[in-house]
């Protein structure tokens, strides 16, 4: 069995879903208008990812190869529905602001990709750690994106005003175009360091 710390580090750094693999882009861009939304989305996706990875891994010897993708989707959709209920019951404000993108976790390519590439080939414990690593990598990326956009666009960090009132806000950054620009700049910064190394 692979080393759990290595699996988690792999998800956060070496194969970061957002910055390295560039998958799961829709929620990444859509819900990161504030740090709290970004982290909330990341944690919801992490929960789905961990549970679906564990179950896909447990069922990997039972599911026939030819119908594996529909089976994975049903497993994922089940956990998404459960998470949706949990969020609706305990954090209704977050549930409202994430809105449509909670049911859409089903089609987040990150989750299906991990089911196909990792969970269906490894044991449940390794699959769980892989899910935690990838999920945290996703959450951290969304959190950073949300922090930058919130700071530039609204002058707040985690809903607490940090920029003085007189300082002009660049509203564009909490709107749709800002998501594209912020992600582009973050990726370019990472590329710059990678090219140097």
């Amino acid at each position: 069995m692979a080393n759990p710390i290595k699996l988690i580090k792999n998800g956060i750094i070496n194969e970061n879903p957002t910055f390295v693999q560039v998958i799961g882009m829709c929620p990444t861009l859509a819900v990161t208008s504030s740090a709290i939304n970004g982290i909330g989305m990341g944690l919801a996706a992490t929960a789905v990812l961990v549970f679906s990875n564990i179950f896909v891994s447990l069922l990997r010897k039972i599911i026939p190869d030819t119908v594996r993708i529909p089976c994975f989707i049903v497993v994922i959709a089940t956990f998404v529905t459960i998470i949706e209920f949990v969020l609706k019951a305990y954090v209704p404000t977050l549930y409202k602001s994430l809105g449509l993108f909670i049911p859409l976790i089903v089609v987040n390519c990150l989750i299906l990709a991990r089911a196909e590439a990792f969970a269906s080939k490894n044991g449940p414990v390794a699959a769980a750690f892989d899910g935690i690593g990838m999920g945290l990598g996703f959450t951290i990326a969304l959190g950073i994106l949300g922090l930058v956009r919130e700071f530039i666009g609204a002058g707040t960090l985690f809903d607490i005003t940090v920029l003085p009132e007189a300082f002009p806000r660049t509203l564009l950054f909490v709107m749709a175009p800002g998501a594209f620009f912020t992600l582009a700049c973050l990726m370019a910064i990472l590329n710059h360091f990678r090219n140097k190394a």
């Binding site: 560039v22 829709c26 529909p70 959709a77 049911p103 089609v107 590329n191």
Partner: protein
């Protein structure tokens, strides 16, 4: 009149890709050439309208009467996945020319979140059958418009000098951001 506005709003004002962030993966993934982008756009228009119609029927004639609305997500994704498979088989037999043009894009559409998104949105907004299909049609046409324009721009800038760090994805994202600003100009044009 309202129905025409619904379609126009889907194409310009609430553009799925550029203002709602649905279907970003194919938007970034299959937009290196105008031809393939157009093929993807056509396939999405076709599947999305069909999927919205079938999802509406499933919701109103199966989920609501049986009182299992909470299973909508599982039901919709299964409907879409099997529909895509079915369309693929049908086109292969009945219209080989069309299959040649759209075939490779069809499997990709299952994971296009715009297709599931439009089904869920139609349900949340309580649209009737015709409104649902037209909403999907407008949204898909907006996707096709955005991806074709985007591919055209990417073809032009492919050979340009860009800063080393911005090569590839970052440049594509900047381009999409600029297009998104352009589409912001349409906001407020139609109020629904």
């Amino acid at each position: 009149m309202n129905l025409i506005l619904l379609v126009l709003a889907g194409i310009f004002v609430n553009n799925y890709v550029l203002s709602q962030f649905l279907g970003i993966c194919p938007f970034l993934g299959v937009s290196k050439k105008v031809d393939t982008a157009a093929g993807m756009g056509m396939a999405v228009i076709f599947v999305m309208s069909l999927a919205a119609a079938v999802a509406w029927l499933v919701y109103n004639f199966i989920l609501v009467p049986l009182n299992i609305i909470y299973l909508y997500n599982i039901a919709f994704i299964l409907v879409i996945a099997s529909l895509v498979q079915f369309v693929e088989m049908f086109l292969k037999k009945a219209a080989p020319a069309l299959y040649q043009a759209l075939g490779v894009f069809l499997p990709l559409i299952t994971t296009n979140c715009a297709v599931l998104g439009v089904a869920v949105l139609n349900m949340q907004k309580g649209y009737n059958f015709i409104e649902s299909v037209l909403n999907a049609l407008g949204g898909a046409a907006g996707f096709a418009l955005a991806i074709v324009l985007f591919a055209g721009i990417r073809e032009r800038i492919a050979d340009n000098d860009t800063p080393k760090a911005f090569e590839g994805f970052p440049m594509a994202l900047i381009t999409a951001g600029l297009m998104s600003i352009a589409f912001l100009g349409f906001s407020g044009l139609i109020k629904l």
